[in-house]
């Protein structure tokens, strides 16, 4: 096998030999069917003992060159000496806004390899190629939702909650009161983008969320008209008896064992979720039957998993209205920030805003940060970050984080005190502590998959 060092030395030449007849190259649309076939086998359903048909359309989409968040040349593929595709992963662009600031984020996705070629380090080469491409195109971070534990070896740490949801069996919904609005649902068309975006953007901007995922027209159109993937979800508009749009729902495109995902659930400006939640949940019953089953043996759809990341109000409403539900703990996004200084510099306006509304308004000084492996001096003048310079360690610093804790703090997932309690090797001087608490407050996020 070729070592990573060798690959790094000549990383821009593809196809790149990996030894034993394997080559790494970037994908083309002609690889789409092979990637789909590889994915169905790699994500084999052990319980049902069948290949996973669910990921085929997704893989095809990613390599079709029609996905607005992933072009064919964003997919790294490994082929064997017979040019058979044996491992692959896509580098999607994950739309992400951090307190109003877009952050270019790469998302390795559908990482898979054929069972017969595992334990040869092929995925390490694939991830390395994706990381280099991500850096080259200007991504400031990478995010992945994948196999627990596995991605730590590539510099990822759990840093953002993801997919906490309420599991609601629709048959057990309380009956609708006679006075409740009569809500119906309709799948969107491209023409509905402005209407949908207004509701979705209000939802993500008015709930005190730190990071959210904005929709673009191109992605919306892809979902509404082109996507084959059953891993994505479709926006639906909710209308009342006067044909007025009162809300929206993002509805998963697959029924897995009777359960359908609902990653988004919001109401239009001027509408009240307390009034509309129950009618909207009832309306879901009418459209659930049309969601395809992953396997024919699966049950008819009877339950929805409504995603409640970022303190979604449905959680409280279910309690108020006695809607039976079971809360499911969140999954988490793995995050990798390779260049901490560049990342901090990019969000400097957000940091200035936080300082301006705090006791540190007008702050001037230097904050010296160590990650035990690298150091940074952040210089502030009149409440603005003016430059970041590297610090040679060992040096006197104001705060130390283990490398894996940086993203957990700056992405608002954990407070400084929580980090310190969990990892006593997080340390901040008494004077730096309140400044750090202002700069990086704990704050929830709602970072949707954009599949």
């Amino acid at each position: 096998m070729v070592s990573l060092a060798q690959l790094t030395a000549d990383t821009l030449t593809y196809p790149h030999p990996l030894g034993d007849g394997y080559h790494l190259r970037w994908g083309t649309p002609a690889d789409a069917d092979a990637y789909a076939q590889l994915a169905t086998g790699a994500f084999f359903l052990k319980e049902e003992h069948v290949a996973n048909p669910n990921v085929a359309g997704y893989a095809y989409d990613l390599l079709s060159d029609r996905h607005p968040l992933c072009r064919a040349h964003d997919v790294a593929v490994v082929v064997d000496k017979h040019q058979r595709l044996v491992a692959a992963a896509a580098l999607m662009r994950q739309p992400l806004v951090y307190q109003g600031i877009p952050i270019a984020t790469g998302r390795p996705e559908l990482v898979c390899s054929e069972a017969t070629v595992r334990n040869r380090g092929l995925i390490r080469h694939v991830m390395h190629a994706l990381h280099r491409k991500s850096a080259a195109r200007g991504d400031l971070m990478q995010a992945i939702t994948g196999i627990p534990h596995y991605y730590h070896q590539f510099g990822y740490t759990w840093s953002v909650d993801h997919k906490e949801f309420l599991r609601i069996p629709l048959a057990q919904l309380p009956a609708l009161p006679a006075t409740a609005p009569a809500v119906t649902m309709r799948r969107v068309t491209t023409a509905d983008f402005a209407l949908f975006a207004a509701m979705y953007d209000a939802d993500r901007q008015h709930r005190g969320l730190l990071m959210t995922a904005p929709y673009t027209l191109a992605y919306f159109q892809h979902l509404a008209e082109h996507s084959r993937s059953s891993e994505s979800y479709l926006p639906y508009l909710c209308r009342d008896q006067h044909d007025q749009v009162v809300g929206y729902v993002l509805l998963g495109r697959r029924n897995w064992g009777g359960v359908v995902m609902v990653p988004g659930f919001g109401v239009a400006h001027g509408q009240h979720m307390l009034q509309l939640a129950l009618p909207m949940l009832h309306a879901l019953s009418d459209v659930l039957g049309a969601v395809p089953k992953v396997l024919e043996s699966h049950a008819e759809a009877h339950t929805v998993d409504v995603q409640i990341d970022g303190n979604h109000p449905l959680s409280t409403i279910c309690t108020l209205l006695h809607i039976p539900q079971q809360r499911q703990a969140p999954f988490q996004w793995y995050i990798r920030i390779a260049d901490v200084a560049a990342w901090l510099w990019h969000i400097r306006d957000a940091l200035a805003q936080r300082l301006a509304t705090s006791v540190f308004a007008g702050y001037s000084g230097t904050l010296r940060i160590s990650t035990y492996q690298a150091g940074y001096a952040l210089t502030w003048q009149n409440g603005h970050l003016t430059h970041i310079t590297p610090l040679v360690l060992p040096a006197d610093v104001d705060v130390t984080y283990p490398p894996e804790c940086v993203a957990q703090h700056v992405l608002g997932w954990r407070s400084l005190a929580e980090l310190r309690d969990w990892r006593p090797d997080v340390w901040a001087s008494p004077s730096a502590t309140p400044l750090l608490e202002v700069l990086f407050p704990k704050q929830p996020s709602w970072l949707l998959w954009m599949n």
Binding site: I147, P148, A329, Y372, T400, D425
Partner: protein
Amino acid sequence: MMEIYDARYCEDMGDGHILKWMTQPHEIESYAALTSNVFKTDAQAPDNAFIAQHSREICASDHPLGDTPHGAIVVAPDDTVVAGAVLQRMPMDYAGIRLHVGRPEIIATAESARRRGYVRALLKLLHAKSSARGDHLQGITGIPYFYQQFGYRYAIDYDGYATVAFADVGPPAPLHAITLQRATPDDYADFVAWYDADRLQRGLLATTPIDASYFRYIMGTSQSTHNWRIYLALHEQQRIGYVIIGRANWDQQLVVHGCAFTRGYGWAHTLPALMQALAHIRSDVVIRDPQIHEITGVRFILDSQHPLFTQLTYGVAHTREPEYAWYVRVADVAYLLNTIKPVLERRMRHSALAGYSGQSTWSFYGEGVTLHWDAGTLTKVAQARVPRNGEGCDATFPPHLINMLIFGRKSVQEMKEWHHEVWATPTCKQLLDTLFPKAPSWFHWLN
């Protein structure tokens, strides 16, 4: 082939440097010289004679926590020690079960010999020796972050800190005044009665038992400023409790490492009296730092649950600092669980799972362990070969993270909120919650 814990073991580290066990008096002296240089307070400061003295004491044959050979060293071609560490014995009381802890300590590398992997090599020897002598775990309170790479995780509470100035506490009511009398080697029985009551009756999980030999050593033989002095507290000529004090200063404070009084002497009354009594004995404290001229207050380094910390919140000016934690390494989880079996069975007996029978396999992503229960009795604990990603197991934990659970620092739920790979079936989660309830510890240094 010679085992690496054999006192004769040595290994070529390249460039004429040899890894070996420290067995010779001149090696101990060279190691002491190394520590005195490495642990200087700053580059311009003179060598640290206090740590050199402490290094010699730990390596002396009469140290009750020492072992032979005392530690591991890397020697240069000129026979000077350029890196070294000792392995102390630390007794631990885990809910009534005595555990043996190996404590790598005074780990030092000459500046010119760093980044050559010497500490990794030293720890390899110390871990092997610790394991060979039957230690259940290793514990370190050392450089933050550094020791994670050797399989250590922050798993046991390590003391809370509060600083109080003498000037900020008013005098006690005359009726409550106490005096402190330095204990003698013969006062062990009185001391240990109060000390054991203090550590055993406050719901603490892991504590430090102090036996007579160690007590007599520090009250008689030891000259190290890294050790304690123990005082008995007197009220109206009656002994009412104990106070453990560090022999040396910490900045402008004297350090209290332990204190408790007979029932009836509540902290509301005794705190002012204790502060006054401590002010009276402050001249006993060795001031190691020439820049410090006066002891102006007390630094309490006690377990985070100590009632004194609560008392401070009622009108006493003080500063608090976050707790640290012990790094813990458990190389053989099955061995540890087998040893604490009576505790696990007791917890099971008093839980909703009383009478439980079944088998439970836990994956640590590479290694695993299986517990067999029969009617509430833990019949077998064994290391298990498990699939790489824990498929089919009843619970999964990232490597070494279970240390936090076993030592009560975090619950399964808390671990899950931080590490998505922490997972358990509903039955196993109940089992884990039952076997390993979250509990504070007070496990302090014995030097």
